[in-house]
Symmetry: C2
Subunit: 147 residues, 2 copies
DNA sequence: TTCTTCGGCCTTGGTGAATTGCATATGGAC
DNA sequence: GTCCATATGCAATTCACCAAGGCCGAAGAA
C-alpha cells in the first residue's frame, strides 16, 4: 500500500451497500453523507469498482449503485485491488527483471513471503464476513443489562 | 509501507556489513559502489541506523561503519523501523482516537490482523538468517557438476 | 598538520495522493 | 416528450513526501 484514502473510502462505501442488502439502489449522496466521504472522490472510486464488475451503476432519477454480486462472493482483496490495482511491496516481486540483483536476492524471498501473509487476510474475508463483524461490534445489547 | 528506496538501500547496506563480519569497518564509498546506491542517500540512511543503535560509525581515515551488534541479534524489522519509523497500514491502528468510527469498525480489526501477519515475517528473521539465505542462493556449486 | 571520512542542514525536482469543478450523457418520473 | 436527478469523464489544483544532490563543518587517524 500504503492504505490510501481511496481504499479506505471505497471499503466504507461498499460496506454501506453490503449492509443494506444486495439489491437496494443507493445514490452517492446518501453514502457520502452517512459515512462522511467527499462525494466527488467517492464517485471516482465507485467508477473503478463498476468497471471491475463489483458494483452496478444505475443512472437517472432514483439511480445510484448496488452490489453486482452477493456480499459473500466478494472478498476484501477484490475491492482493494479494484481500487488501486494489484498490491506489491516492491516492483521486483511481480517483475523480477526490474532488478538485476533479483536472482540472488534473499530480501526478495522474504518480501514475497511477507506479501503473501498480508494478502491471505484480505482473501479470506468477504464483505459478508465484515458486515457481520460490524453488526456484532456495534450492537452488544446483552452485555450488561440495567440492574 | 510502500517499500521505499530508503528501506531498500538501507537493507542492502546493512546486509553488506553483515556479510563481511561484525567488526570490519567499511566506508560508505565501498558499499555505495558495490551495491549501486547513491552515496549521499546512503549516508543519510546510515545516520538513522547509527542513532538507533544498529550501526556504529567511525570517522577519520579508514573510518566507516560496522554493525553495533552481532547479525543474529538484529531483526529485519529493527532495520526497517529504524529507517522509516513504525509501520502501520493506517493511523487508526496505533491511535484509535484518530477516527471517530474506530470503536465499531470491523475493517480496523481486519487491518490489525493483516499488519500482524506482515510484521511477523520481519520479526522472525535476523540479518544472520538473510545473509545465510543469500549465500546459499548465489553459490550452488554442487547443483550440476560438469560432466 | 593533513587528509579522509562521517554529520548536519538546506535545496531541488519529481511523483502521486486527495481533492474540486465543470461539462456531458443517461434514464426514470411526470 | 420534457425535466431533473443522477452517474460519467476529463481537467486542474493543492499538498505532501520521496529521492537525490550540494556545501561546509566536525572528528580522528596518520
Ligand atoms: S535488491 Fe532484491 S528486494 Fe531490492 S529490488 Fe532488487 S530483487 Fe527486489
Ligand atoms: S473507518 Fe475504521 S479502518 Fe478506517 S480509519 Fe476509521 S477505524 Fe480505521
Amino acid at each position: 500500500m500504503q492504505f490510501t484514502k481511496a481504499e479506505e473510502y471505497g471499503m466504507q462505501g461498499v460496506l454501506h451497500l453490503a449492509d443494506k442488502g444486495k439489491d437496494e439502489v443507493t445514490p452517492l449522496s446518501e453514502i457520502s453523507e452517512a459515512r462522511d466521504i467527499p462525494e466527488k472522490f467517492l464517485a471516482k472510486i465507485f467508477q473503478s469498482l463498476s468497471r471491475s464488475g463489483i458494483l452496478r451503476s444505475h443512472r437517472g432519477v432514483r439511480g445510484g449503485f448496488t452490489l453486482a454480486k452477493p456480499p459473500g462472493d466478494i472478498t476484501v482483496k477484490d475491492v482493494l485491488e479494484a481500487i488501486q490495482g494489484p498490491y506489491h511491496l516492491t516492483k521486483c516481486i511481480p517483475d523480477p527483471d526490474s532488478c538485476a540483483r533479483s536472482a540472488s536476492c534473499a530480501m526478495r524471498e522474504l518480501l514475497v513471503t511477507a506479501e503473501e501473509r498480508l494478502l491471505e487476510v484480505f482473501v479470506k474475508h468477504t464483505l459478508e464476513d465484515v458486515v457481520h463483524m460490524e453488526r456484532s461490534m456495534s450492537a452488544p445489547p446483552s452485555e450488561k443489562p440495567n440492574p
